[in-house]
């Protein structure tokens, strides 16, 4: 009897909570973990003030976001994907193959990538060449320029005599992260270019060139600290000799405990990144599926909220969260694109 009643109760719960497969009434957003802290603020603001449901935002990484976004058109697929890099032509092709033909590209601002250490340690002044020499897997042989050897440098002083005599120890994101992609591209590749023979290689053997520029050493000097930037900040406090790589918003929030190294003579400050003077910064984007704009409730409202001056403007709330706004003309251009739902050209 008891068993029967338990079984009956189970069946009843299932029947009562049977799925109501209605159309989706909230926006579904996927994509970059770098854009996530900004998109979530906009989503929350939109949800609290408009009366619509708050959009759901998954942090899947830029690549994972495009994969979900380009899966097709319909309520089961994401409406918007955030990205910390522009869409690749292969991804655009996947999109087109799955019927996602009309995409609106919106650039939202910039993010700086900083190399920071504890406030207890000395502030470092680095060049991108130093960063390349300290972190690449293979570097030019100082005795025999033009040849590559496995990275022999153990201390910063060996890399550049003006730097302190401390062990090279850098905590950074793993290869799956967009921050890592941007860091190797903006810091290491540009550093590698200062060697002429590597620069020449770009024209002759592009694959080898990419490999030299983008491969990070694996002998323990670079520690993959996972995607958790807070953890890196905590580890930097515990170990003053270590440097960490993370986005500007984490430096901004933790300015009392960590300091951002000067790169090419430029400090990682809000103004420096906004002017484009700080060399290691990248644009942030989101991509909208045009076919969904009129179907999913709240899409237009969310887009308007994101592209409004009070959000992404110079004094907007996204700037408070550490996002670097675009210049005025660029903001105007992209908000007009959004208002007129201007799609990007498919390559």
């Amino acid at each position: 009897m008891k068993v029967k009643s338990i079984l009956a109760a189970g069946a009843l719960t299932l029947a009562l909570t049977a799925p109501a497969m209605a159309a989706r009434d909230y926006i579904s957003i996927v994509g970059s973990s770098t854009v996530y802290p900004f998109a979530t603020v906009v989503a929350e603001q939109f949800g609290k003030t408009s009366g619509s449901k708050t959009p759901k935002i998954e942090s899947t990484g830029s690549g994972g976001g495009f994969k979900l976004f380009c899966g097709g058109v319909g309520v089961n697929f994401a409406d918007i994907t955030n990205a910390s890099r522009a869409i690749k032509s292969t991804e655009m092709k996947t999109c087109a193959d799955n019927g996602v033909a009309d995409i609106i590209e919106v650039k939202i601002g910039y993010d700086g990538i900083v190399l920071a250490n504890s406030k207890d340690a000395k502030l470092l002044e680095l060049t991108r060449k130093d960063i390349f020499l300290a972190l690449a897997k293979d570097v030019p042989d100082p005795a025999n320029p033009g040849k590559l050897i496995a990275n022999p440098y153990k201390t910063w002083k060996e890399v550049n005599s003006s730097l302190p005599d401390t062990k090279i120890e850098v905590l950074g994101p793993p290869p799956t992260s967009g921050t890592r992609d941007a860091f190797v591209e903006l810091a290491m590749e540009n550093g590698a270019k200062s060697f002429d023979f590597i620069k020449d290689m770009k024209a002759t053997d592009k694959k080898e060139y990419k490999k030299i520029c983008h491969t990070v050493r694996e002998d323990g000097a670079y520690v993959e600290a996972g995607e958790n930037d807070n953890l890196i900040v905590q580890k930097l406090q515990a170990n003053p000799n270590a440097l960490g790589i993370f986005g500007f918003s984490f430096l901004d929030q933790n300015a009392d405990v960590v300091q951002g190294s000067i790169i090419e003579g430029k400090e990682p400050t809000f103004e420096g990144i906004a002017e484009g003077a700080y060399p290691v910064s990248r644009p942030l984007f989101f991509y909208v599926k045009k076919a969904h704009v009129d179907v999913i409730p709240g899409m237009k409202g969310y887009l308007t909220e994101f592209t409004s001056e009070k959000a992404w403007g110079e004094d907007g709330y996204l700037a408070d969260k550490g996002m670097i706004p675009m210049p005025k003309e660029e903001r105007k251009m992209f908000s007009e694109n959004v208002a007129s739902l201007k799609t990007m050209e498919m390559k």
């Binding site: 189970g10 209605a22 708050t54 309520v75 089961n76 406030k119 807070n230 300015a255």
Partner: protein, 425 residues
């Protein structure tokens, strides 16, 4: 004579070998004890760090404002269109009339959480009669102010290294003097969903998500698990097929949980078209994960029921089905329930499979049903641990405390059920 001598040397006087054996035993005991002491120390350390980080999260800093709900502000048709942030700013300006510069004003306004405006909107919508009056309202302070009040920002640092400027410190001190600033019980934490403002973030959304997910898991995995265990143990013939099934169930119990997430993504979302990020799909995936645990625990407890009970029941003329439902199953139930609760506790702490089906997401609205998107407790902990704002550190620890409370409660229930219904043979 001879016998006493041999007694002396063999039994009463400890020989070298005997002493060695005693010593070995003593050391073995000490080793065991120190292992227990070590594991207890680890647990104590875990609890201590979580508690010391998290207990502050249950109190939050509030600021008292004299808000004048000017009638002109509400001339528009809809109450929602009024400029509530403007009202908050005005109240702050009247409190500190000496602040005039644009930069200074920005600093002053940033002491108050954006939540203040939502609160005023709620107040007006609940009682439009307050328009035109001045009300004393306690609103949430910004997370930086809160961190300062909790001693997590050092006042003695150089101004540039602090998130609170000297001006702001002076304003805060004067508010403390006027008793306009105080810490109160943090009700918000228990009544709201996620937020990007640490002072507004709550655990209810995730807790309800966990509850709905576990409800689905329980209502599917318990009946299915018990039925399979009963069939396999009491009715199934013993042959190659049942052996194969048994081996596979044992294997499934050891499969890493993320695999179930991938399976759920492929079948429930891509094939059946269930909505992503919902407790419905989460519950189904966790059902797959806990089923083997429940079946194995169920079979073990059915096995422990003595065969004499079955024989006696069959002997007095009960059918096989009556034997099972009237005698065997009630006796095996405590063991089955224990297994189920432990499986549920495991499911409660699981994040990996949920990653695949989109439950690791920012969701503000508290889910109302199983097809609303929602997060679960461990996911919420993960998301907060990864947020840049300092205020989330204590929220993370507080969320861990809540999760641990649930886990301990569930495990104690399992122990209680076992103790209460256990029958010793």
């Amino acid at each position: 004579m001879n016998s006493t001598e041999s007694n002396n040397s063999n039994i009463l006087a400890p020989t070298k070998r005997l002493r060695q054996r005693y010593r070995a035993e003593k050391w073995f005991k000490r080793l065991g004890l120190s292992a227990i002491a070590l594991s207890l120390a680890f647990i104590a350390f875990l609890f201590f760090t979580i508690f010391s980080d998290g207990y502050t999260a249950f109190r939050q800093t509030y600021i008292q404002l004299d808000v004048h709900f000017t009638a002109e502000e509400f001339a528009q048709e809809k109450l929602a269109n009024a400029d509530y942030p403007g009202l908050v700013k005005e109240a702050m300006s009247t409190m500190f009339p000496e602040v005039t510069g644009r930069q200074e004003k920005r600093q002053l306004y940033s002491l108050i959480s954006p939540a203040a405006a939502y609160k005023l909107q709620e107040m007006v919508e609940a009682n439009p009669k307050i328009i035109g009056t001045t009300q004393k309202v306690w609103v949430l302070a910004d997370d930086d102010v809160d961190m300062l009040m909790k001693g997590k920002i050092d006042r003695n640092l150089v101004e540039s290294n602090r998130r609170i400027s000297d001006n702001q410190l002076a304003w805060i001190d004067s508010m403390i003097e006027e008793q306009r600033l105080e810490k109160r019980f943090n009700k918000t934490f228990f009544t709201t969903g996620d937020s990007r403002e640490p002072e507004l973030a709550g655990i209810l959304g995730a807790a309800k998500g966990s509850f709905l997910t576990l409800l689905i898991t329980l209502s599917l995995s318990f009946p299915i698990g018990v039925a399979s265990a009963v069939y396999l143990e009491e009715f199934a013939p013993e042959n190659k097929w049942t052996d194969l099934i048994e081996i596979n169930i044992n294997n499934l119990a050891a499969v890493p949980s993320i695999i179930f997430g991938l399976l759920g993504l492929a079948i429930f979302i891509n094939f059946w078209g269930f909505p992503r990020s919902t407790p419905l799909v989460g519950g189904l995936v966790l059902t797959l994960m806990t089923l083997p645990t429940i079946i194995i625990a169920g079979r073990a407890s059915l096995k422990s029921v003595p065969p004499s009970i079955r024989e006696a029941a069959l002997g007095v003329g009960a059918s096989k089905m009556q034997t099972v439902t009237h005698h065997v199953l009630p006796l095996a139930m405590p063991g089955m329930l224990t297994g189920t609760i432990i499986g549920m506790a495991q499911a409660l702490g699981e994040t990996a499979p949920l990653l695949m089906i989109g439950m690791v997401a920012f969701i503000v609205d508290v889910p109302a049903g199983i097809t609303d998107p929602s997060a679960v407790l461990p996911v919420q902990i993960y998301l907060w641990a990864d947020s840049p704002e300092r205020g989330f550190t204590e929220k993370t620890a507080a969320a861990i405390m809540i999760l641990l409370t649930f886990l301990i409660a569930m495990n104690s229930l399992a122990v209680f059920l076992r103790k209460k219904f256990e029958i010793k043979w």
